[in-house]
Amino acid sequence: MRAMHVVVCVKQIPDPATPGELDPTTKTLKREGKLILDESDAYGVEMALQLVDAAGGGEVTLVSMAPNSEVSGLRTALAMGAAKAILVSDDSLAGADALTTAKVLAAAIKRAEPDLVMAATESTDGYTGTVPEQIAELLGLPSVTFASHVEVRDGTLSVRRQTEAGYDEVECPLPALVSVTAGVVEPRYPSFKGIMAAKSKPVEELTVADLGLDAGQLDPRQEIVEVAPAEERKAGEIIHDEGDAHLKVVEYLEKLKVL
Protein backbone atom coordinates (compact mmCIF):
# COMPACT_ATOMS: atom_id res chain seq x y z
CA MET A 1 0.00 0.00 0.00
CA ARG A 2 1.22 3.47 -0.81
CA ALA A 3 -0.44 6.85 -0.41
CA MET A 4 -2.18 8.26 -3.47
CA HIS A 5 -2.11 11.95 -4.23
CA VAL A 6 -4.74 12.82 -6.78
CA VAL A 7 -5.37 16.17 -8.44
CA VAL A 8 -8.86 16.62 -9.83
CA CYS A 9 -9.46 19.34 -12.41
CA VAL A 10 -12.81 20.95 -11.73
CA LYS A 11 -14.66 23.63 -13.61
CA GLN A 12 -16.99 26.14 -12.04
CA ILE A 13 -19.68 27.02 -14.55
CA PRO A 14 -22.81 29.16 -14.79
CA ASP A 15 -25.87 27.17 -13.70
CA PRO A 16 -26.81 25.13 -16.82
CA ALA A 17 -30.48 25.70 -15.92
CA THR A 18 -30.13 29.38 -16.90
CA PRO A 19 -29.56 30.00 -20.62
CA GLY A 20 -26.00 30.97 -21.61
CA GLU A 21 -25.13 34.35 -23.07
CA LEU A 22 -22.23 35.78 -25.05
CA ASP A 23 -20.69 39.12 -24.23
CA PRO A 24 -21.62 41.31 -27.24
CA THR A 25 -18.20 43.02 -27.34
CA THR A 26 -15.72 40.24 -26.63
CA LYS A 27 -18.01 37.47 -27.97
CA THR A 28 -16.89 35.22 -25.15
CA LEU A 29 -19.13 33.34 -22.74
CA LYS A 30 -20.47 35.51 -19.92
CA ARG A 31 -19.29 34.04 -16.65
CA GLU A 32 -19.96 36.86 -14.24
CA GLY A 33 -22.82 35.44 -12.16
CA LYS A 34 -22.53 32.84 -9.43
CA LEU A 35 -20.76 29.73 -10.63
CA ILE A 36 -21.42 26.17 -9.54
CA LEU A 37 -19.45 22.93 -9.69
CA ASP A 38 -19.89 21.36 -13.12
CA GLU A 39 -21.91 18.21 -12.45
CA SER A 40 -19.56 16.25 -14.76
CA ASP A 41 -16.71 16.96 -12.35
CA ALA A 42 -18.47 15.41 -9.36
CA TYR A 43 -17.68 12.01 -10.90
CA GLY A 44 -13.94 12.72 -10.99
CA VAL A 45 -13.97 14.02 -7.42
CA GLU A 46 -15.82 10.91 -6.19
CA MET A 47 -13.54 8.56 -8.14
CA ALA A 48 -10.47 10.29 -6.71
CA LEU A 49 -11.80 10.06 -3.15
CA GLN A 50 -12.47 6.34 -3.60
CA LEU A 51 -8.98 5.70 -5.02
CA VAL A 52 -7.37 7.50 -2.07
CA ASP A 53 -9.51 5.41 0.31
CA ALA A 54 -8.53 2.21 -1.47
CA ALA A 55 -4.85 3.17 -1.27
CA GLY A 56 -5.21 3.63 2.48
CA GLY A 57 -3.71 7.12 2.45
CA GLY A 58 -3.12 10.28 0.49
CA GLU A 59 -5.36 13.16 -0.42
CA VAL A 60 -7.34 14.88 -3.17
CA THR A 61 -6.34 18.36 -4.37
CA LEU A 62 -8.64 20.36 -6.62
CA VAL A 63 -7.32 22.57 -9.41
CA SER A 64 -9.60 25.11 -11.06
CA MET A 65 -9.46 28.21 -13.23
CA ALA A 66 -12.26 30.74 -12.77
CA PRO A 67 -12.88 34.50 -12.91
CA ASN A 68 -13.41 36.78 -9.90
CA SER A 69 -11.83 34.48 -7.31
CA GLU A 70 -14.89 32.26 -7.58
CA VAL A 71 -14.85 29.43 -5.04
CA SER A 72 -18.46 28.31 -4.57
CA GLY A 73 -18.07 25.31 -6.88
CA LEU A 74 -14.77 24.42 -5.21
CA ARG A 75 -16.47 24.46 -1.80
CA THR A 76 -18.95 21.86 -3.06
CA ALA A 77 -16.08 19.54 -4.04
CA LEU A 78 -14.23 20.25 -0.79
CA ALA A 79 -17.43 19.37 1.07
CA MET A 80 -17.43 16.01 -0.73
CA GLY A 81 -14.05 15.33 0.85
CA ALA A 82 -11.23 16.93 -1.16
CA ALA A 83 -8.47 18.24 1.15
CA LYS A 84 -7.50 21.50 -0.52
CA ALA A 85 -7.72 23.51 -3.71
CA ILE A 86 -5.62 25.62 -6.06
CA LEU A 87 -7.56 28.33 -7.88
CA VAL A 88 -6.11 30.30 -10.79
CA SER A 89 -8.02 33.53 -11.19
CA ASP A 90 -6.70 36.23 -13.50
CA ASP A 91 -8.51 38.85 -15.58
CA SER A 92 -6.15 38.16 -18.48
CA LEU A 93 -7.68 34.69 -18.81
CA ALA A 94 -11.19 35.85 -19.75
CA GLY A 95 -12.35 33.89 -22.80
CA ALA A 96 -9.33 31.57 -22.69
CA ASP A 97 -9.50 28.75 -25.24
CA ALA A 98 -8.90 25.05 -24.53
CA LEU A 99 -5.12 25.13 -25.10
CA THR A 100 -4.64 28.22 -22.89
CA THR A 101 -6.79 26.65 -20.19
CA ALA A 102 -4.71 23.47 -20.41
CA LYS A 103 -1.45 25.46 -20.09
CA VAL A 104 -2.71 27.22 -16.97
CA LEU A 105 -4.10 24.07 -15.35
CA ALA A 106 -0.95 22.08 -16.19
CA ALA A 107 1.24 24.72 -14.52
CA ALA A 108 -0.95 24.64 -11.40
CA ILE A 109 -1.05 20.81 -11.32
CA LYS A 110 2.75 20.63 -11.51
CA ARG A 111 2.96 22.41 -8.14
CA ALA A 112 0.93 19.65 -6.49
CA GLU A 113 3.12 16.79 -7.84
CA PRO A 114 0.28 14.26 -7.99
CA ASP A 115 0.43 10.52 -8.69
CA LEU A 116 -2.73 10.84 -10.71
CA VAL A 117 -4.57 13.67 -12.47
CA MET A 118 -8.31 13.26 -13.00
CA ALA A 119 -10.69 15.27 -15.12
CA ALA A 120 -14.13 14.91 -16.61
CA THR A 121 -14.36 13.94 -20.26
CA GLU A 122 -15.70 17.38 -21.11
CA SER A 123 -17.30 20.36 -19.41
CA THR A 124 -21.02 20.93 -19.58
CA ASP A 125 -20.74 24.52 -20.87
CA GLY A 126 -17.80 24.53 -23.30
CA TYR A 127 -17.54 20.79 -24.05
CA THR A 128 -14.39 20.97 -26.16
CA GLY A 129 -13.29 17.65 -24.65
CA THR A 130 -9.64 18.31 -25.48
CA VAL A 131 -8.32 19.90 -22.26
CA PRO A 132 -7.47 16.65 -20.38
CA GLU A 133 -5.37 15.27 -23.24
CA GLN A 134 -3.68 18.64 -23.71
CA ILE A 135 -2.79 18.72 -20.00
CA ALA A 136 -1.32 15.21 -20.24
CA GLU A 137 0.84 16.23 -23.19
CA LEU A 138 1.99 19.42 -21.45
CA LEU A 139 2.97 17.42 -18.35
CA GLY A 140 4.54 14.59 -20.37
CA LEU A 141 2.13 12.07 -18.84
CA PRO A 142 0.48 9.00 -20.31
CA SER A 143 -3.30 9.24 -20.31
CA VAL A 144 -6.45 7.21 -20.60
CA THR A 145 -9.52 9.17 -21.69
CA PHE A 146 -13.23 8.24 -21.55
CA ALA A 147 -12.73 5.96 -18.55
CA SER A 148 -15.87 4.18 -17.38
CA HIS A 149 -14.11 2.12 -14.69
CA VAL A 150 -10.86 2.87 -12.83
CA GLU A 151 -8.80 0.78 -10.40
CA VAL A 152 -5.25 1.04 -9.12
CA ARG A 153 -3.33 -2.20 -8.48
CA ASP A 154 0.28 -2.09 -7.27
CA GLY A 155 0.81 1.38 -8.61
CA THR A 156 -0.65 0.53 -12.00
CA LEU A 157 -3.92 1.92 -13.32
CA SER A 158 -6.41 -0.49 -14.78
CA VAL A 159 -9.00 1.36 -16.80
CA ARG A 160 -11.94 0.58 -19.04
CA ARG A 161 -11.91 3.06 -21.89
CA GLN A 162 -15.09 3.60 -23.91
CA THR A 163 -14.81 2.87 -27.63
CA GLU A 164 -17.17 3.04 -30.59
CA ALA A 165 -17.85 -0.68 -30.31
CA GLY A 166 -17.65 -1.32 -26.56
CA TYR A 167 -14.65 -0.76 -24.32
CA ASP A 168 -10.90 -1.36 -24.17
CA GLU A 169 -9.03 -2.56 -21.10
CA VAL A 170 -6.00 -0.32 -20.70
CA GLU A 171 -3.15 -0.54 -18.19
CA CYS A 172 -0.99 2.43 -17.36
CA PRO A 173 1.78 3.14 -14.83
CA LEU A 174 1.57 6.17 -12.52
CA PRO A 175 1.90 9.11 -12.69
CA ALA A 176 -0.82 9.47 -15.32
CA LEU A 177 -3.95 11.34 -16.30
CA VAL A 178 -7.43 9.81 -16.53
CA SER A 179 -10.60 11.46 -17.84
CA VAL A 180 -13.77 9.86 -16.55
CA THR A 181 -17.22 9.64 -18.10
CA ALA A 182 -20.35 10.48 -16.15
CA GLY A 183 -21.54 7.30 -14.53
CA VAL A 184 -18.08 5.94 -13.61
CA VAL A 185 -19.17 6.14 -9.95
CA GLU A 186 -22.14 7.56 -8.08
CA PRO A 187 -21.03 10.90 -6.58
CA ARG A 188 -21.78 11.31 -2.86
CA TYR A 189 -23.84 14.20 -1.57
CA PRO A 190 -21.83 16.42 0.75
CA SER A 191 -22.79 15.79 4.38
CA PHE A 192 -23.56 18.65 6.78
CA LYS A 193 -20.26 17.92 8.51
CA GLY A 194 -18.51 18.01 5.14
CA ILE A 195 -20.07 21.34 4.23
CA MET A 196 -18.99 22.87 7.55
CA ALA A 197 -15.46 21.46 7.24
CA ALA A 198 -15.15 22.75 3.65
CA LYS A 199 -15.43 26.34 4.82
CA SER A 200 -12.03 26.20 6.49
CA LYS A 201 -10.18 24.04 3.96
CA PRO A 202 -7.29 25.86 2.26
CA VAL A 203 -7.79 27.41 -1.18
CA GLU A 204 -4.56 28.78 -2.65
CA GLU A 205 -5.28 31.54 -5.14
CA LEU A 206 -2.78 32.19 -7.93
CA THR A 207 -2.38 34.50 -10.90
CA VAL A 208 -0.79 33.76 -14.27
CA ALA A 209 2.39 35.51 -13.06
CA ASP A 210 2.48 33.33 -9.90
CA LEU A 211 2.53 30.28 -12.16
CA GLY A 212 5.53 31.66 -14.01
CA LEU A 213 3.65 31.67 -17.30
CA ASP A 214 4.48 34.21 -19.96
CA ALA A 215 1.32 36.12 -20.90
CA GLY A 216 2.41 36.07 -24.56
CA GLN A 217 2.09 32.27 -24.55
CA LEU A 218 -1.55 32.59 -23.59
CA ASP A 219 -2.74 34.99 -26.30
CA PRO A 220 -5.75 33.71 -28.21
CA ARG A 221 -4.95 32.70 -31.79
CA GLN A 222 -8.50 32.49 -32.97
CA GLU A 223 -11.27 35.04 -33.24
CA ILE A 224 -15.03 34.75 -33.20
CA VAL A 225 -16.05 36.59 -36.36
CA GLU A 226 -19.79 36.03 -36.36
CA VAL A 227 -22.57 35.06 -33.97
CA ALA A 228 -26.04 34.33 -35.29
CA PRO A 229 -29.17 32.65 -34.00
CA ALA A 230 -29.65 29.16 -35.43
CA GLU A 231 -32.57 28.46 -37.68
CA GLU A 232 -35.25 27.40 -35.27
CA ARG A 233 -36.98 24.11 -35.62
CA LYS A 234 -40.70 24.79 -35.48
CA ALA A 235 -42.78 22.88 -33.00
CA GLY A 236 -45.47 20.86 -34.74
CA GLU A 237 -48.77 19.47 -33.60
CA ILE A 238 -49.18 18.87 -29.87
CA ILE A 239 -52.00 16.63 -28.72
CA HIS A 240 -53.11 15.47 -25.28
CA ASP A 241 -53.53 11.73 -24.92
CA GLU A 242 -57.15 10.74 -24.45
CA GLY A 243 -56.46 7.05 -24.83
CA ASP A 244 -56.04 7.13 -28.62
CA ALA A 245 -52.77 9.04 -29.07
CA HIS A 246 -51.01 5.83 -30.12
CA LEU A 247 -53.20 5.78 -33.25
CA LYS A 248 -51.96 9.28 -34.08
CA VAL A 249 -48.41 7.95 -33.93
CA VAL A 250 -49.27 5.04 -36.22
CA GLU A 251 -50.99 7.41 -38.64
CA TYR A 252 -47.95 9.69 -38.63
CA LEU A 253 -45.56 6.77 -39.29
CA GLU A 254 -47.79 5.60 -42.14
CA LYS A 255 -47.77 9.06 -43.67
CA LEU A 256 -43.96 8.96 -43.63
CA LYS A 257 -44.13 5.52 -45.26
CA VAL A 258 -41.95 3.90 -42.61
CA LEU A 259 -44.68 1.46 -41.62
Binding site: K27, L99, S143, D168, G236, L247, V249
Partner: protein, 324 residues
Protein backbone atom coordinates in the same frame (compact mmCIF):
# COMPACT_ATOMS: atom_id res chain seq x y z
CA UNK B 1 -8.59 30.70 -53.38
CA UNK B 2 -8.37 27.30 -51.89
CA UNK B 3 -5.98 25.48 -49.61
CA UNK B 4 -3.19 23.41 -51.00
CA UNK B 5 -3.29 20.32 -48.76
CA UNK B 6 -5.68 19.05 -46.07
CA UNK B 7 -4.98 16.04 -43.87
CA UNK B 8 -7.84 13.95 -42.51
CA UNK B 9 -7.67 11.54 -39.57
CA UNK B 10 -8.75 8.20 -41.03
CA UNK B 11 -10.44 5.73 -38.72
CA UNK B 12 -11.72 2.24 -39.46
CA UNK B 13 -13.37 -0.68 -37.72
CA UNK B 14 -12.61 -4.20 -38.91
CA UNK B 15 -11.23 -2.93 -42.20
CA UNK B 16 -14.21 -0.65 -42.88
CA UNK B 17 -13.61 3.11 -43.00
CA UNK B 18 -15.81 5.04 -40.54
CA UNK B 19 -18.49 7.16 -42.19
CA UNK B 20 -17.24 10.30 -40.44
CA UNK B 21 -13.85 9.88 -42.12
CA UNK B 22 -15.49 9.76 -45.56
CA UNK B 23 -17.60 12.82 -44.68
CA UNK B 24 -14.49 14.82 -43.80
CA UNK B 25 -12.55 13.64 -46.85
CA UNK B 26 -15.44 14.63 -49.13
CA UNK B 27 -15.61 18.12 -47.62
CA UNK B 28 -11.82 18.50 -47.71
CA UNK B 29 -11.89 17.83 -51.47
CA UNK B 30 -14.02 20.96 -51.97
CA UNK B 31 -11.51 23.11 -50.09
CA UNK B 32 -8.09 21.87 -51.11
CA UNK B 33 -6.30 20.75 -54.23
CA UNK B 34 -4.85 17.75 -52.42
CA UNK B 35 -6.38 15.60 -49.69
CA UNK B 36 -4.25 13.19 -47.69
CA UNK B 37 -5.13 11.00 -44.71
CA UNK B 38 -3.28 9.50 -41.76
CA UNK B 39 -4.04 6.27 -39.98
CA UNK B 40 -2.89 4.16 -37.04
CA UNK B 41 -3.53 0.49 -37.78
CA UNK B 42 -1.95 -2.52 -39.45
CA UNK B 43 -4.51 -2.67 -42.29
CA UNK B 44 -3.86 0.56 -44.22
CA UNK B 45 -3.81 -1.40 -47.50
CA UNK B 46 -7.36 -2.59 -46.82
CA UNK B 47 -8.76 0.95 -46.52
CA UNK B 48 -6.62 2.70 -49.17
CA UNK B 49 -9.12 1.77 -51.89
CA UNK B 50 -12.17 3.30 -50.19
CA UNK B 51 -10.25 6.40 -49.18
CA UNK B 52 -8.87 6.80 -52.70
CA UNK B 53 -12.35 6.47 -54.18
CA UNK B 54 -13.34 9.43 -52.01
CA UNK B 55 -10.40 11.53 -53.14
CA UNK B 56 -7.48 10.74 -50.81
CA UNK B 57 -4.16 10.71 -52.69
CA UNK B 58 -1.83 9.56 -49.90
CA UNK B 59 -2.46 7.55 -46.78
CA UNK B 60 0.22 8.02 -44.12
CA UNK B 61 0.29 5.14 -41.70
CA UNK B 62 2.14 4.32 -38.51
CA UNK B 63 1.18 0.67 -38.92
CA UNK B 64 -0.11 -1.22 -35.87
CA UNK B 65 0.75 0.47 -32.58
CA UNK B 66 1.53 -2.72 -30.66
CA UNK B 67 -0.85 -1.83 -27.81
CA UNK B 68 0.09 1.84 -27.60
CA UNK B 69 -2.84 4.29 -27.65
CA UNK B 70 -3.31 6.36 -30.82
CA UNK B 71 -3.40 9.74 -29.02
CA UNK B 72 0.28 10.22 -28.21
CA UNK B 73 1.60 7.92 -30.97
CA UNK B 74 -0.20 9.45 -33.93
CA UNK B 75 0.26 13.01 -32.63
CA UNK B 76 4.01 12.49 -32.30
CA UNK B 77 4.26 10.89 -35.74
CA UNK B 78 2.38 13.80 -37.35
CA UNK B 79 4.36 16.43 -35.46
CA UNK B 80 7.59 14.83 -36.71
CA UNK B 81 6.33 15.02 -40.32
CA UNK B 82 5.35 18.66 -39.91
CA UNK B 83 8.62 19.63 -38.26
CA UNK B 84 10.39 17.86 -41.11
CA UNK B 85 8.68 20.14 -43.63
CA UNK B 86 5.79 17.92 -44.77
CA UNK B 87 3.00 20.18 -43.50
CA UNK B 88 -0.63 20.60 -44.61
CA UNK B 89 -2.71 23.78 -44.29
CA UNK B 90 -5.46 22.14 -42.28
CA UNK B 91 -5.86 18.95 -40.24
CA UNK B 92 -9.40 17.62 -39.83
CA UNK B 93 -10.53 15.15 -37.18
CA UNK B 94 -13.91 13.57 -36.52
CA UNK B 95 -15.23 14.06 -32.98
CA UNK B 96 -14.50 10.49 -31.92
CA UNK B 97 -12.75 8.96 -28.91
CA UNK B 98 -9.41 8.70 -30.67
CA UNK B 99 -9.89 11.86 -32.76
CA UNK B 100 -10.12 14.04 -29.67
CA UNK B 101 -7.05 12.40 -28.13
CA UNK B 102 -4.86 12.84 -31.19
CA UNK B 103 -6.06 16.41 -31.84
CA UNK B 104 -5.48 17.42 -28.20
CA UNK B 105 -1.94 16.02 -28.10
CA UNK B 106 -1.10 17.46 -31.52
CA UNK B 107 -2.31 20.94 -30.57
CA UNK B 108 0.24 21.00 -27.74
CA UNK B 109 3.03 19.62 -29.91
CA UNK B 110 2.42 22.26 -32.59
CA UNK B 111 1.34 24.92 -30.06
CA UNK B 112 -1.79 25.63 -32.08
CA UNK B 113 -5.37 25.97 -30.89
CA UNK B 114 -7.80 23.19 -31.76
CA UNK B 115 -11.33 24.26 -32.59
CA UNK B 116 -13.96 21.74 -31.58
CA UNK B 117 -17.56 20.69 -32.25
CA UNK B 118 -17.30 22.18 -35.73
CA UNK B 119 -20.16 21.53 -38.18
CA UNK B 120 -18.80 23.49 -41.14
CA UNK B 121 -15.61 24.98 -42.56
CA UNK B 122 -14.94 27.70 -45.10
CA UNK B 123 -11.88 29.23 -46.72
CA UNK B 124 -11.56 32.85 -47.79
CA UNK B 125 -8.12 33.75 -49.10
CA UNK B 126 -5.72 32.58 -46.38
CA UNK B 127 -8.37 32.65 -43.67
CA UNK B 128 -9.91 29.40 -42.49
CA UNK B 129 -13.17 29.75 -40.58
CA UNK B 130 -15.12 27.04 -38.80
CA UNK B 131 -18.72 26.99 -37.60
CA UNK B 132 -19.79 25.74 -34.21
CA UNK B 133 -23.29 25.53 -32.72
CA UNK B 134 -23.39 26.57 -29.05
CA UNK B 135 -26.02 26.77 -26.31
CA UNK B 136 -27.60 23.51 -27.40
CA UNK B 137 -27.57 24.54 -31.04
CA UNK B 138 -29.62 27.73 -30.59
CA UNK B 139 -26.69 29.97 -31.56
CA UNK B 140 -24.20 29.55 -34.38
CA UNK B 141 -20.67 30.90 -33.96
CA UNK B 142 -18.08 31.34 -36.72
CA UNK B 143 -14.47 31.34 -35.57
CA UNK B 144 -11.43 32.22 -37.68
CA UNK B 145 -7.96 30.81 -37.07
CA UNK B 146 -5.50 33.66 -36.42
CA UNK B 147 -2.23 31.77 -36.50
CA UNK B 148 0.06 30.14 -39.02
CA UNK B 149 -1.11 26.84 -40.52
CA UNK B 150 -1.55 23.96 -40.05
CA UNK B 151 -4.87 24.57 -38.34
CA UNK B 152 -6.56 21.85 -36.31
CA UNK B 153 -10.31 21.24 -36.17
CA UNK B 154 -12.57 18.56 -34.68
CA UNK B 155 -15.78 18.06 -36.65
CA UNK B 156 -19.04 16.50 -35.52
CA UNK B 157 -20.19 13.39 -37.39
CA UNK B 158 -22.95 14.00 -39.96
CA UNK B 159 -21.76 17.51 -40.74
CA UNK B 160 -21.02 16.69 -44.39
CA UNK B 161 -22.28 14.31 -47.08
CA UNK B 162 -19.84 11.60 -48.13
CA UNK B 163 -19.33 11.45 -51.90
CA UNK B 164 -17.01 9.54 -54.21
CA UNK B 165 -14.58 11.21 -56.58
CA UNK B 166 -13.75 8.11 -58.59
CA UNK B 167 -10.06 8.19 -57.64
CA UNK B 168 -7.79 5.15 -57.54
CA UNK B 169 -6.45 3.66 -54.32
CA UNK B 170 -4.51 6.07 -52.11
CA UNK B 171 -0.74 5.57 -52.02
CA UNK B 172 0.19 4.05 -48.66
CA UNK B 173 3.15 5.88 -47.10
CA UNK B 174 4.63 4.54 -43.86
CA UNK B 175 5.53 7.17 -41.23
CA UNK B 176 7.54 6.63 -38.09
CA UNK B 177 6.41 6.99 -34.49
CA UNK B 178 9.22 8.71 -32.57
CA UNK B 179 10.16 7.63 -29.04
CA UNK B 180 7.19 8.62 -26.86
CA UNK B 181 8.89 8.45 -23.48
CA UNK B 182 6.43 8.35 -20.59
CA UNK B 183 3.51 9.56 -22.73
CA UNK B 184 3.43 6.20 -24.51
CA UNK B 185 3.23 4.13 -21.32
CA UNK B 186 -0.51 3.32 -21.45
CA UNK B 187 -1.07 -0.13 -22.99
CA UNK B 188 -4.13 -1.68 -24.54
CA UNK B 189 -4.59 -5.09 -22.90
CA UNK B 190 -7.90 -6.29 -24.26
CA UNK B 191 -10.81 -5.17 -26.46
CA UNK B 192 -14.45 -5.80 -25.66
CA UNK B 193 -17.06 -5.57 -28.38
CA UNK B 194 -20.59 -5.11 -27.08
CA UNK B 195 -23.06 -7.04 -29.20
CA UNK B 196 -25.99 -5.02 -30.48
CA UNK B 197 -28.80 -6.26 -32.61
CA UNK B 198 -30.50 -4.38 -35.42
CA UNK B 199 -29.25 -1.27 -37.19
CA UNK B 200 -26.48 0.93 -35.78
CA UNK B 201 -27.67 3.90 -33.77
CA UNK B 202 -26.00 6.53 -35.94
CA UNK B 203 -26.96 4.85 -39.21
CA UNK B 204 -30.56 3.77 -38.50
CA UNK B 205 -33.46 5.22 -40.44
CA UNK B 206 -35.60 5.22 -37.30
CA UNK B 207 -34.39 5.73 -33.72
CA UNK B 208 -36.54 5.01 -30.67
CA UNK B 209 -35.07 6.55 -27.51
CA UNK B 210 -36.12 6.29 -23.88
CA UNK B 211 -35.42 8.48 -20.88
CA UNK B 212 -35.96 8.90 -17.18
CA UNK B 213 -39.74 9.16 -17.71
CA UNK B 214 -39.80 5.38 -18.19
CA UNK B 215 -39.51 5.20 -14.41
CA UNK B 216 -37.40 2.06 -14.03
CA UNK B 217 -34.76 0.15 -15.99
CA UNK B 218 -37.08 -2.81 -16.74
CA UNK B 219 -39.37 -0.52 -18.73
CA UNK B 220 -36.63 0.01 -21.31
CA UNK B 221 -37.87 -3.30 -22.75
CA UNK B 222 -40.75 -1.30 -24.23
CA UNK B 223 -38.23 0.82 -26.15
CA UNK B 224 -36.39 -2.27 -27.37
CA UNK B 225 -39.60 -3.96 -28.53
CA UNK B 226 -40.77 -0.80 -30.28
CA UNK B 227 -37.38 -0.52 -31.99
CA UNK B 228 -37.59 -4.12 -33.12
CA UNK B 229 -41.09 -3.71 -34.55
CA UNK B 230 -40.05 -0.59 -36.47
CA UNK B 231 -36.64 -2.03 -37.51
CA UNK B 232 -35.20 0.91 -35.59
CA UNK B 233 -32.19 1.38 -33.33
CA UNK B 234 -32.86 1.84 -29.60
CA UNK B 235 -31.31 4.91 -28.00
CA UNK B 236 -31.24 6.58 -24.61
CA UNK B 237 -30.86 9.87 -22.81
CA UNK B 238 -27.77 10.49 -20.71
CA UNK B 239 -29.84 10.30 -17.51
CA UNK B 240 -30.60 6.60 -17.89
CA UNK B 241 -27.13 5.77 -19.18
CA UNK B 242 -25.67 7.41 -16.04
CA UNK B 243 -28.18 5.48 -13.97
CA UNK B 244 -26.82 2.27 -15.50
CA UNK B 245 -30.06 1.14 -17.17
CA UNK B 246 -28.40 0.77 -20.59
CA UNK B 247 -24.80 0.82 -21.89
CA UNK B 248 -23.09 4.05 -22.96
CA UNK B 249 -23.26 2.92 -26.59
CA UNK B 250 -27.00 3.77 -26.52
CA UNK B 251 -26.51 7.41 -25.57
CA UNK B 252 -27.80 10.12 -27.89
CA UNK B 253 -26.58 13.64 -27.21
CA UNK B 254 -23.67 15.99 -26.86
CA UNK B 255 -21.73 13.20 -25.19
CA UNK B 256 -22.75 10.11 -27.09
CA UNK B 257 -24.03 9.81 -30.62
CA UNK B 258 -25.34 12.47 -32.95
CA UNK B 259 -28.23 11.01 -34.95
CA UNK B 260 -30.18 12.34 -37.91
CA UNK B 261 -32.70 9.61 -38.76
CA UNK B 262 -35.88 9.98 -40.82
CA UNK B 263 -37.90 9.45 -37.65
CA UNK B 264 -36.83 9.99 -34.04
CA UNK B 265 -39.20 8.87 -31.31
CA UNK B 266 -38.40 10.26 -27.84
CA UNK B 267 -40.32 8.53 -25.04
CA UNK B 268 -40.08 9.87 -21.50
CA UNK B 269 -37.28 12.25 -22.48
CA UNK B 270 -37.69 15.84 -21.31
CA UNK B 271 -35.17 17.21 -23.81
CA UNK B 272 -32.21 18.61 -21.89
CA UNK B 273 -29.91 20.73 -24.06
CA UNK B 274 -27.37 17.94 -23.95
CA UNK B 275 -29.88 15.57 -25.55
CA UNK B 276 -31.34 18.02 -28.09
CA UNK B 277 -27.88 18.66 -29.56
CA UNK B 278 -27.68 15.00 -30.52
CA UNK B 279 -31.07 14.56 -32.18
CA UNK B 280 -32.62 17.78 -33.38
CA UNK B 281 -31.22 17.28 -36.86
CA UNK B 282 -33.69 14.37 -37.27
CA UNK B 283 -36.10 14.82 -40.17
CA UNK B 284 -39.21 14.00 -38.14
CA UNK B 285 -39.49 13.98 -34.36
CA UNK B 286 -42.22 12.33 -32.29
CA UNK B 287 -42.16 13.05 -28.56
CA UNK B 288 -44.16 11.40 -25.80
CA UNK B 289 -43.92 13.04 -22.38
CA UNK B 290 -46.12 13.70 -19.37
CA UNK B 291 -44.95 17.26 -18.88
CA UNK B 292 -46.49 19.69 -21.33
CA UNK B 293 -43.68 22.17 -20.61
CA UNK B 294 -40.88 19.71 -21.51
CA UNK B 295 -38.39 21.30 -23.95
CA UNK B 296 -38.61 18.24 -26.21
CA UNK B 297 -42.01 19.51 -27.42
CA UNK B 298 -40.28 22.62 -28.77
CA UNK B 299 -38.60 20.50 -31.47
CA UNK B 300 -41.27 17.80 -31.96
CA UNK B 301 -43.29 17.53 -35.18
CA UNK B 302 -45.80 15.38 -33.34
CA UNK B 303 -45.97 15.87 -29.58
CA UNK B 304 -48.04 13.59 -27.38
CA UNK B 305 -48.68 14.94 -23.91
CA UNK B 306 -49.36 11.72 -22.08
CA UNK B 307 -48.10 8.91 -19.87
CA UNK B 308 -45.51 6.71 -21.61
CA UNK B 309 -46.79 3.80 -19.52
CA UNK B 310 -50.14 4.09 -21.29
CA UNK B 311 -49.17 5.34 -24.75
CA UNK B 312 -46.28 2.90 -25.36
CA UNK B 313 -48.15 -0.32 -24.44
CA UNK B 314 -51.08 0.75 -26.65
CA UNK B 315 -48.69 1.62 -29.48
CA UNK B 316 -46.88 -1.72 -29.11
CA UNK B 317 -50.15 -3.64 -29.23
CA UNK B 318 -51.26 -1.81 -32.37
CA UNK B 319 -47.91 -2.39 -34.09
CA UNK B 320 -47.80 -6.07 -33.14
CA UNK B 321 -51.12 -6.46 -34.95
CA UNK B 322 -49.77 -4.76 -38.06
CA UNK B 323 -46.18 -5.93 -38.20
CA UNK B 324 -46.64 -9.29 -36.49
Amino acid sequence: MSLSTIWVHAEAQEGKVLTVTLELVSKARELAGNVEAFYAGDDADAIAGTLGAHGVTKLYTTGGLDGKLPGPALAAALAAQIEGGNAPDMIMFGTTYDGRDVAGRLSVKLDRPVLTNCTDIGVDGDTVTVTEPIFGGTTIVDTAFRCDPPHIGLFRPKSFEPSESGGGAAEVVPIEVPDLGATGAAKLVNRHIEERQGPKLDEADIVVAGGRGLGESGKFEMIEELAKLLKAAPGASRAIVDAGWVPYAYQVGQTGKVVKPTVYIAAGISGATQHLVGMKGSKNIIAINKDEEAPIFGVADLGIVGDVHKVLPALLEELRKRVG
